[in-house]
Amino acid sequence: MNPRILDCNADIVFFPVRHHSPTAALLLSSLLQKLKPAAVLIEGPSDYNDQLKELVLDHQLPIAIYSYFEDELGERSGAFYPFCEYSPEWQAVTKGQKQGASVEFIDMAWAELSNLSRRRNLYSDEDQGSIRYISELCKQLEVDGFSELWDKIIEIENPALADYMSRVHHLCYHMRIFAGNDQEIIAREDCMAKFIRAAKEKFSGKIIVVTGGMHSYALFARIFGSDEEKSEFTRLKPELVPESVIPWWLNFGEQTAGTEEQSSKKTDEQVNAEKEADARQSDKEQNIPSSSSSQETAEQINADKLDEVAGSKEGDKEKHHAPILKAKVRGIALTPYSYERLDSLTGYESGMPTPGFYHQVYTDRRNNKSESYRVLLTKTISNLRKKKGQQISSADLIAVETSACALAALRGHKEVWRLDLIDGVISAILKDERNFDIPHPFLLAIEESLRGDMVGRLSDKASLPPLVLEVESKLRQWDIYPQSFERLLHLELTDELASAQSMFLHKLTILHTPGVVLQSSPLDDHFDNIQALESWSIQLNPGFHAAIIEASIYGNTLCDAAMAKLLELTQATNNTASAAKALLSACLMGLKELAVELKQNLLDLIRQDSDLLRVGSALNHTLYLSKYDTVLRTKPIDSVQDLLSAFFDRCLWLLDSQGASSYDNNSIEHLMRSLVETSEQLKIVNVASAEYFIDVLKRLRSSARTGAFLRGAACGILWTKDELKNDALVDDLTYFSNPSTIGEFLNGLIALAKESLKQRDDLLKSLDQFLLAFSVDQFLEALPKTRLAFSAFTPRERHMLAQKILKLTQQTNSDIDLESDFDIESATQMLVLEDRIGEAIKRYGLRG
């Protein structure tokens, strides 16, 4: 590595950072103060440069730049560049602008990068390529991963500037070598180098280049390096990690390096090696062939290995630049972010774990305070005590702190760090066996405290994507803008304004806008009790703006966005139930064109789906549509009758060919009800289907394979449609009259034809006879299901049935007393008894 890169007074200073590093942020901030550079170049989306001034408005951090686009093929992707108080990039932007420097982002725009990149957070650690190097290093430093490694050598040590530069450049130089000729990295570095060169031409003053440490040296080499140095970064990544690449400062446990003074404690050998490297470097610069030496530096060995692996240098020239597709929709805007999303423990590649912890460290260090852990420990304990209701005594607190301090000492940490704290709590408070697949609630509480709960808010002056403006103006126009308290909105869908509002809110819901919730709709009523009324709850949620800004990826107007989102959802699943649901959603949102398209899609899908319940649920959605089409404005689909017929036929075919033995009674009941409902709807327009229905039911009834419940249901439907001979019902009951099936059959029958039992005396009488013929054990076996079947009747109906039985069996009221009232006392006693039984059942966990 060329030592020139370590020079903090050079014309171009390459300042290496880890995104979201308090130490880097503080050092960079003071370096900017000292150097007063003419230009500050930062790794960030260069297509945001025009709007850069907006970044320094009075936002509340954390916020992120959100860049999104849709290419010609309809592929959408978006990426975040999150900023918090302790992000070095944030310091660079704000301090740079304050000092009047020219501040510029120099990375590729997301639209160009996205087909090369696998990441969605451009400020996450990019160590994929260098995993082997990092794991070797972790072993040497006795840590478990990159975050701990970085903490150990940078954050905890809190080195001075020169030491920081040396440590980070050494570390990142090797990381970069081991990332090899990764297409994404090379393309980005090409872009960044271009900006640096342009700035070099343009500005006479000093320039600071703030990039992820991994790019720093590669950029330096491109601008100032020899050909060989440049080529170092376009080779294949090496297979092996030679021990010699572990730089001198990694003998760290013994050296406790930290200050420039201490860093001079290098062994003679190391000093010689470095001197020689420097000498060779200056030789190279003057084009003097280097003298051969027996003592090779780490870098040279490394480079040799690289050559071996790469085979020939020509072989490497195939590299980068996959074709870049043209963007159809493209945008870049600020969006509120939160520490919860930033926390890599919960988010997707979101960067740094426990941002709350680092925030505390940053704040304390800026105010020259130490022992940040104390504040967080107090917070964790009070979180455990108040929110989780745990009893944590002062003695426990002392034990946690002692353990944390001892762990820090053992790990060579100068102060108690986040893992020491977490381990301290595990060690001193957890008294259970830990199941490593399920996080312990205590640990969740700690992580929550260390994560922090900061939520960003954009300045009112920040420009927002058109989608947000549209949504906001509509919300204000209708006076339904979310407030901090919950508002309930009741919409009578027959009213035109209410209907428009409903469609608008449905669109917001499909875009996952937090705080907008549909509480009840006519859908819940399930065919009875028809009321075209929707209730919505609207309340301001911290994620409200972020969700809408991020939904811009789907389109610039609410209609476009909702439509694109719905299409995406439909394409993800290819079954009738979800497609029918999508059609229903499209109608609820009033998306006419899409509804037509989805209907066609659904018709195509019907023949492919052979899951009875799924088709049944699709039938249900369609039925809903057909029943409420005036309210739901499905007129564009003309009529859903054809759809309904298609589903009806498909259901019947599946029922006929497969039966329904593998489904539970509840599902069968729903399905049969939908079928009956549909057959009523279709009676006039489609006689053939209605007849087919009767045929299928008859076949089901006569098949020995049909289960008792379904057969009961089939009998019931046939009876209500007058398709059964007089004594056929009694025959069926007789067929199922053994104790294990009688209840099931009655369940099915009563569920679909309550009246049958009320009207057919012979049926009731036979039932009575069967039940009386049971022995005690048989009766007990049959009791639960039979009782369940009769629960479909109201108490009055049951009373009527009882009287009827008395009459049929020619008994009088005096034989069994049905009439006389209970006195209040016995009624109360019964209630008390019932309560006690209920409690006992609950105590033994017999009922949910």
Partner: protein, 365 residues
Amino acid sequence: MSTKKNTEIQRPPAEMLYADELKILAQEDAKEPRPEGWQLTPRSVIRFITGDKKSGLQSKFVGNRSFLERCVVALATSRGLMLIGEPGTAKSYLSELLAAAISGDSTLTIQGSGGTTEDNIRYSWNYAMLLAEGPSPRSLVPAPLYRGMQQGRIVRFEEITRCPLEIQDTLLSVLSDRVLAIPELPDDERMLFAKQGFNIIATANTRDRGVNEMSAALKRRFNFETVQAIRDINEEMELVQRETEKLFKRASIPVQISPDVVQVLVTAFHELRNAKTVEGQALEGMSTVMSTAEAISTGYAAGLHSYYYSTGTPTGDHLVHSLLGTALKDNPDDIKKLRHYFNHAVRGRKGKAWQEFYEAHKHLP
């Protein structure tokens, strides 16, 4: 005992087996500060356990580093250490290693059982002498706890939850006040104050009687650490290979168990233990533990079998024979599960060792 040769002892304790390593470490960190009464520094204790190729230290225990750090810190901050976990996760071995590294002596061990009495834990009397001379330090027979406190050493309490509650609670005052009262002795000798370096490592098994069988008061005085089964199958293979070789060497049997066979053995144990094949398909979980320790003993038994009754090269056939004793204990369903495992997971796997293993499933009862 120390004069006996290692080889004469069936199972030498860790401090004897690794005496050289302990010596190297003691020399290396002779000047470093350490907790009072400790033979090594906390860092060296961890190095002793995790091993360090450069210094010629063997790796003895596979586990997450921060877990080990927490264990050592618990002992350094004078809290008792309670190791809990499934059987066969090397809890006892870890406690032995810790005791050997910290005190240079892992033999102060109390074995918990239903029949453990206070006498086994604290002290008892030489009754002849007691009758002749009355109570005196001479007539007192020290048990491990007494000796640990007196000499400032780590005391190991194995399977603590197997002891009745009131016996476990003997430890209460010892752990909090670090003092043991011997009311029979004259005033000036009545209190035994623990010397620096004394502490307790207890182990408990979560399979049969869990840590719930323990008073809250005693729980408070221990730091609990759950010992995990080895997650990384490659690490487990390395360990099984190494340990079986060690056992063969100790038994002076010239048998080599080939890496292919070890792979079959460890994969089978790993899959049956986690009820999931390495390809990610679900399996029926066995009622037996299928621990790494059992994998080692299965490998060892297969080796012995092949040496004494066969060609001397352990194959899948020998593995199945030895596996039966380990996997099939009292639950009759396990045999079905094992058969299912052979038919669904093992069958069709490529490689000679796997095929031999599958062929041998005919030995299943």
